[in-house]
Subunit: 119 residues, 2 copies
Amino acid sequence: MSGEDDFVLALRVADAGLEARLLALLGGVPGLRLAEEGEAADAVLSDADARAGGPELTPREREVLELLTTGASNRAIGAALGISAHTAKFHVARLLDKLDATGRTDAVAHAARLGVVHL
Amino acid sequence: MSGEDDFVLALRVADAGLEARLLALLGGVPGLRLAEEGEAADAVLSDADARAGGPELTPREREVLELLTTGASNRAIGAALGISAHTAKFHVARLLDKLDATGRTDAVAHAARLGVVHL
DNA sequence: GCGCCTACTGCCCGGCCGGGCAGGGTGACG
DNA sequence: CGTCACCCTGCCCGGCCGGGCAGTAGGCGC
């Protein structure tokens, strides 16, 4: 039956115009169909990562943020970067402020949503 | 010039076979081209969310996990769900165990990578 | 009826987190 | 030369986290 071996693609796009454009581009591709609401998909097409949004981060802040996504403590971040835990904590505080986060868990989630980190 | 108004799509796919299949499907679509390494894209096509991976979570655990992604404390989770902070903490501990995470920040990152939550 | 699972609650403890405050050094720029 | 941004370090404090331990109750399958 038609569709059985189709590649199922789910769209997760915030911009309605972008979504319409994608529907037009991908709607007629043989072997590919778009997933319905709630349907399991083979892959997801999202504009989240491409947003390249979020605040400007310094190189050190990026390094600290990457380590935050691994669940590292301030002490572990300090050890990984060869700095003191106090300094690591200072950078984490700067990140919380720039990402408008209430804590490191919130910071990681915000950063992922903004496309600042890829999980 | 050709390509100027193209929709630029970046692939972030772990499976090589899947990537090849996508290249075959999308390579010939007019108005669409695939981003080069490091190039900024309009959207990202990823199999991360579609993996539907990760452990089986109970309904309550899913609720707690959603609240974790907002950076909520155990006390806040308890308040939001109408249960005690101790119970919220119990569910968080179960999540850390199921997601093989060292802490709530790690749990949120793991869950996002596995497609258990969408950030 | 029993065992298992889920959901719930409490307490204790050591370590960690985050805000606030103090301070210093270096390099780039006008 | 002064200023600014970035990076670094220390200390204090209250609150939070996570592991460990104890317990209860209800629903479901055998």
